[in-house]
C-alpha cells in the first residue's frame, strides 16, 4: 500500500501534468480557430475584391455600349455611302480619338474634371453627328470651379449622357437639347454635376421599356448605381445621385440627373 503522501504527490504530479497538457490543447485550439477565422476573412475579402473588380469592369464595359459603337459605325457607313467624305472622315477621326481615350481611361481610376469634360465633349460630338440637328448640347462650367484641380472617377458621366441620348432624346419627335452644368459648393473638394435633357422623361422611358424587353436600360441604370455604391464604399468618394423626371418638378419635360461629388481623398 502506498502512503498518503506518495498518493498525494502522484495525484499532484498527474494534476500538474494534466493542467500543462490541457493548457497546450487550449492554446492550440484557440490558435487554430483564430487562423481558421483569419483565413476565412481573407477569403471573404478576396471574394469581395473580385466582385468589386468584376463590377467595375462591368461598369466600364457598359459605359461604351456596343450599341453606341454599332450606331457610330453605321453612321460612318451612311456618310461614306452618300459620298460625304469629309463628314465621314471627321466622324471616323472623332470616333477613333474617343476609342483611344476610352482605352486609356479604362486603366485609370480618376481623371481631372477637364479631362472628363473633354471626353464627354468628344462623345457628344459623335452623337451629334449621328443625330444631326436633332441633338444639341451645352456645357456650362461655374467660373469658380477649377476643373484642373478637381478630379472625378474616370468616365463617370458618359453612361448618364448615353441614357439621355438614347432614352430621352431618341424617343422625342422634335429636336432635343442636353444641358450639362458643373458648379462648386461651399464645401471644399465638392461640386455638383447636373445633366438635363428635354426628352420624354424617365417616367415615360420606363413605360416604353416595360412594354419592350427593357434589358439594356435596366442593366445600365443598375450598373451606374452599383458603381456609385462601390465608389462610396471605397471611402475615397461621397457621391449623391438623384434622378428625377422634370415633369414632376413642373420644369418642362425630360430627365434631370444631379450628382453631388465629394472627393474624400483630397479632403
Amino acid at each position: 500500500m502506498m502512503s498518503d503522501l506518495t498518493t498525494l504527490y502522484i495525484t499532484f504530479f498527474i494534476s500538474v501534468f494534466a493542467v500543462v497538457v490541457g493548457m497546450a490543447i487550449i492554446f492550440a485550439t484557440f490558435n487554430n480557430r483564430k487562423n481558421q477565422l483569419l483565413q476565412q476573412q481573407l477569403e471573404d475579402q478576396l471574394a469581395a475584391q473580385k466582385r468589386q473588380h468584376a463590377t467595375e469592369l462591368n461598369a466600364l464595359r457598359s459605359q461604351l455600349n456596343p450599341h453606341f459603337v454599332h450606331n457610330s459605325l453605321n453612321a460612318i457607313q451612311y456618310y461614306i455611302q452618300r459620298n460625304e467624305v469629309e463628314i465621314s472622315e471627321d466622324y471616323l477621326t472623332k470616333f477613333s480619338k474617343l476609342m483611344r481615350l476610352f482605352f486609356d481611361y479604362s486603366r485609370t481610376k480618376t481623371i481631372t474634371l477637364e479631362e472628363e469634360i473633354s471626353f464627354i465633349n468628344k462623345y457628344l460630338e459623335i452623337e451629334k453627328l449621328r443625330f444631326e440637328d436633332k441633338l444639341s448640347y451645352e456645357i456650362t462650367i461655374d467660373k469658380s470651379l477649377d476643373i484642373n484641380q478637381h478630379s472625378i472617377p474616370t468616365m463617370l458621366l458618359q453612361p448618364m449622357l448615353e441614357n439621355a441620348v438614347n432614352h430621352g432624346i431618341f424617343h422625342k419627335t422634335s429636336a432635343g437639347i442636353i444641358e450639362i452644368e458643373l458648379s462648386r459648393t461651399m464645401i471644399e473638394n465638392q461640386y455638383i454635376v447636373q445633366i438635363k435633357d428635354d426628352g420624354i422623361g424617365i417616367n415615360r422611358t420606363k413605360t416604353i421599356h416595360k412594354k419592350s424587353t427593357g434589358i439594356a436600360s435596366a442593366h445600365s441604370s443598375h450598373v451606374i448605381e452599383e458603381r456609385f455604391e462601390i465608389l462610396n464604399d471605397s471611402g475615397d468618394w461621397e457621391i449623391d445621385y438623384k434622378i428625377t423626371d422634370r415633369s414632376d418638378l413642373n420644369d418642362g419635360t425630360g430627365t434631370m440627373v444631379e450628382l453631388t461629388i465629394l472627393n474624400l481623398q483630397d479632403s
Partner: protein, 208 residues
C-alpha cells in the same frame, strides 16, 4: 516560518493584491462582467477576516470557510453566465451546489467540517462552465484576439485552480488520502497564486 505560513502568505497576499488592484481599476470594469470578480474578491476577503478570527479562538470552527465556498463560487457561476448567457447552466449549477451542501450536512457538521464532496462538485461545475465559456469564445469573432480577452485569462486561472482542487477533493472525499495539512495548504497556496494572478491580469486587460 513554516510551509503553512508561507502558503498562507501566498494565498492572502495574492488575494489582497488582486482586490486592491481591482478596486483601483473599478472605473474601467464597473460596467463589465469583471465587476463580479471584484465582488468575488471582496466577499472572499470580507469573509476570510471573521473566518481567521474564529479559527484563532476556536480552531475547529470552519463555518465561514463553507460559507465562503458557497457564496463566492455562486458569484463565479454568475460571472460565467454574463459571458455565456446560458440561464439553464447557471440555475442547474447553483441548485446542484445547494443540494450537495444540504445532502452533505446530513453526514457532517456545517460548523466543523470542510465539505469535500460539495467542493468536488463545485470544481466540476466550474470546469464545465469554463469549457462552455471557451466554446462560446471559439464561436465568436473575439477569438481573433483571444489573448486580449480578460475572461479568457480569468477562466484559464479558474480552470487550473479547479482541476487541481477537484483531484485533491476527490481523493479526500473518497478517503484515498488523509488530510495532510502541509501538502494541502502548499498546493492551495500555489494554485491560489495562479488564480488571483489570472484575475489581476484579466482585470488589467479591461480598457475604459
Amino acid at each position: 516560518m513554516g510551509v503553512v505560513d508561507i502558503s498562507q502568505c501566498l494565498i492572502y497576499g495574492s488575494m489582497l493584491l488582486a482586490l486592491a488592484y481591482s478596486i483601483l481599476r473599478w472605473n474601467s470594469i464597473k460596467n463589465k462582467p469583471e465587476r463580479w470578480i471584484v465582488l468575488f474578491l471582496f466577499t472572499t476577503v470580507m469573509l476570510e477576516i471573521p473566518a481567521f478570527y474564529l479559527k484563532s479562538i476556536e480552531s475547529k470552527i470552519i463555518v465561514f470557510n463553507n460559507i465562503i465556498i458557497l457564496i463566492t463560487n455562486s458569484i463565479l457561476m454568475y460571472w460565467f453566465y454574463e459571458y455565456t448567457r446560458k440561464k439553464n447552466v447557471l440555475i442547474v449549477s447553483i441548485v446542484v451546489i445547494l443540494i450537495s451542501f444540504i445532502v452533505n450536512s446530513f453526514f457532517s457538521s456545517f460548523l466543523y467540517k470542510i465539505y469535500h464532496f460539495p467542493n468536488f462538485i463545485i470544481s466540476i461545475l466550474l470546469i464545465i462552465n469554463t469549457i462552455i465559456y471557451f466554446r462560446t469564445l471559439l464561436l465568436r469573432n473575439e477569438v481573433l484576439t483571444y489573448y486580449k480577452e480578460p475572461a479568457f485569462w480569468i477562466s484559464l486561472g479558474i480552470l487550473v485552480y479547479q482541476l487541481i482542487l477537484a483531484s485533491i477533493f476527490f481523493l479526500l472525499s473518497k478517503k484515498l488520502i488523509a488530510a495532510n495539512i502541509n501538502m494541502y495548504v502548499s498546493v492551495l497556496g500555489v494554485i491560489s497564486f495562479i488564480l488571483y494572478s489570472s484575475f489581476t491580469y484579466g482585470i488589467s486587460l479591461n480598457k475604459k
